[in-house]
Symmetry: C2
Subunit: 344 residues, 2 copies
């Protein structure tokens, strides 16, 4: 509990929830110094736990709050998002979900039909991902003291035998793979807010990734890092990985899969798809020598049809860099400020 | 997913968060039919999970959201409350905490100093309860879209060998014990809201109960039910137990420990202390033949000094009844409506 590290602002800004630089500063200055322990300090989205006296099988444990606005959008809703987001955080630790919890904070006056619709969506998503909701909680706050509905899901999972993935494991010579188009979720949620008119149909990529991960792990592919680029997008997530692993990552702009409508929407809105949230994407970092086999396995899975190799891990320069289509190299920093509040 | 069971109102009422009858109706009509599974259906506050291939040791898993208003009150704050509330839900399943998660939903504009104070309180409470925060999440919503700070804590615990407690295990002939005074938490929070002026110092009973439970379980006392009477108080919690166990419970009014200041405050406010929330109390139900030994063990623990035997379990009448000091028998129903919103 050091007094040396102080947050740089006296009040919480929206950008503290961006998943970008200020979120990291908040976690690093307010929470980490106080809660520090070996598991938390890995800064992965799920923690490994082992019960003393238990056999070697490791458990993964994760939690996420969802405050997405609006509650419903093309391709998903807060319930589906909460289940898959949490299942995916387990999958990114190489774990299969064993049990899910759901805690709802509800605003007084919410339509019962809305709550029922979300509950049904949670149930369907949990069945799809192959996990049960085993415990939960319900709180109600006065009208005006919350925005309709916030959901916090937590989950426990069993780590696949032999899986040893962590944001700290990226190594020089690794390839960076992704299982499909980037930016769909963020743009779908913005469209649902009517923040812009867009004729193309852009749906959230919200999907459970445990099946895809199970496929890769069961084939004993030598995976180093699995990470889902949600808030803050691919660029921010890769910055986290580069920092924790102490490496550099060079992305090849031309090879990054972005759908035509998302690219068009980003152009209009002045957004970079690399900073837009995804909810059904995994960054897979593994030795370049295995990348062809892994890509082929990913492409044969329904959530990996558009998988691509998008970059390489290098010793230096540190940080994340984009090799542009014009041949230049420009730095991709962590997301600054708040680009799309309440995207998940 | 039955269509027959429908909530009786079209909109969420504050009383849906009371922990009383409407909360139960909400859970029973909106969530249970959609999420139903053997573990959830026990309606205990924590669920047991076993990983296939794992040795017999069972894990408990629980979650709770905290929306208490104000964030700070005599004897505690939202952080301490969240940690102990979650640790206690594990303890009530006979489990020792292994790992804790913390998810914060923060209102834009919250003082950083407030957040730091709560984080420090969470850290201290976790240390006191002997558990690490191993994972977490931070979301920020726009000013006016939440009320300062909501915290959702989840935890995984290891069930003590031999422990087999559940709200469904109350049996005819059991005694109902409690580890001290009832109603302190609810009255302390109301006092902090300045909803009434009261000269006596009433502090929340907010405390971790895993040590007390470990003491009882390590001595192999034959415990049937452990349950913490939080929202809705002792009367509501006993109604849940009576319903799930299919028994009646008769409380002896004269033997229920209520401190003088809490009784005075309840008299002024027209509240029944049996419906006021506690945050450091356990209801212990066990065979009457063991109750003297259990009471003695409870009284020798710092969180059980004022332990008392307050009632008995009977075959009939079903439900919960109060044997009043004047000798009558009156029904104690589940809490109706919302008595004290946002007490936890």
């Amino acid at each position: 509990m050091t007094n040396k590290i102080k947050p740089k602002t006296d009040r919480i800004l929206l950008a503290h929830g961006s998943g970008g630089r200020l979120t990291h500063e908040l976690i690093r200055t307010v929470f980490m110094p106080r809660f520090s322990n070996a598991e938390l300090d890995t800064m992965d989205d799920a923690a490994l736990i082992t019960a003393p006296g238990m056999t070697a099988k490791k458990l993964a444990f994760t939690t996420d709050s969802f405050v997405v606005n609006p509650l419903f959008f093309a391709g998903g809703d807060i319930g589906k998002l909460a289940v898959y987001g949490t299942v995916n955080d387990l999958a990114m630790k190489g774990a299969r979900p064993l049990a899910l919890s759901v805690a709802a904070i509800i605003e007084e006056g919410l339509d019962m039909a809305t709550l029922e619709k979300v509950a049904a969506s949670i149930a369907l998503a949990a069945r799809t991902a192959g996990v049960n909701v085993v415990t939960g909680d319900t709180k109600v706050v006065e009208k005006g003291k919350a925005d309709k509905l916030f959901i916090t899901t937590s989950a426990v999972g069993a780590v696949y035998p032999g899986a040893n993935v962590s944001g700290a494991n990226a190594r020089h010579g690794d390839a960076v793979l992704i299982n499909g188009f980037v930016g769909d979720h963020g743009i779908a949620v913005m469209a649902a807010r009517n923040e812009f008119k867009f004729s193309g149909a852009i749906s959230s990529d919200c999907a459970p990734l445990n099946g895809l991960v199970e496929k890769l792990l069961s084939r004993k592919h030598p995976l180093h890092v699995l990470r889902d680029p949600t808030r803050g997008g691919v660029a921010t997530t890769l910055n986290e990985i580069a920092a924790v692993s102490g490496v550099g990552i060079i992305l090849d702009e031309a090879s990054i899969p972005v759908s035509r409508p998302v690219r068009a929407a980003c152009n209009i809105l002045g957004l970079d798809p690399l900073y837009v949230a995804n909810e059904g994407k995994a960054l897979v970092i593994a030795p370049a020598s295995s990348s062809a086999a892994i890509l082929s396995a990913m492409r044969s899975h329904r959530h990996g049809k558009n998988a691509a190799s998008i970059g390489t891990v290098v010793k230096s320069p540190k940080g994340v860099w984009l090799k542009t289509t014009s041949g230049g190299l420009r730095p991709l920093a962590m997301l600054e400020g708040e680009q799309l509040p309440r995207i998940c």
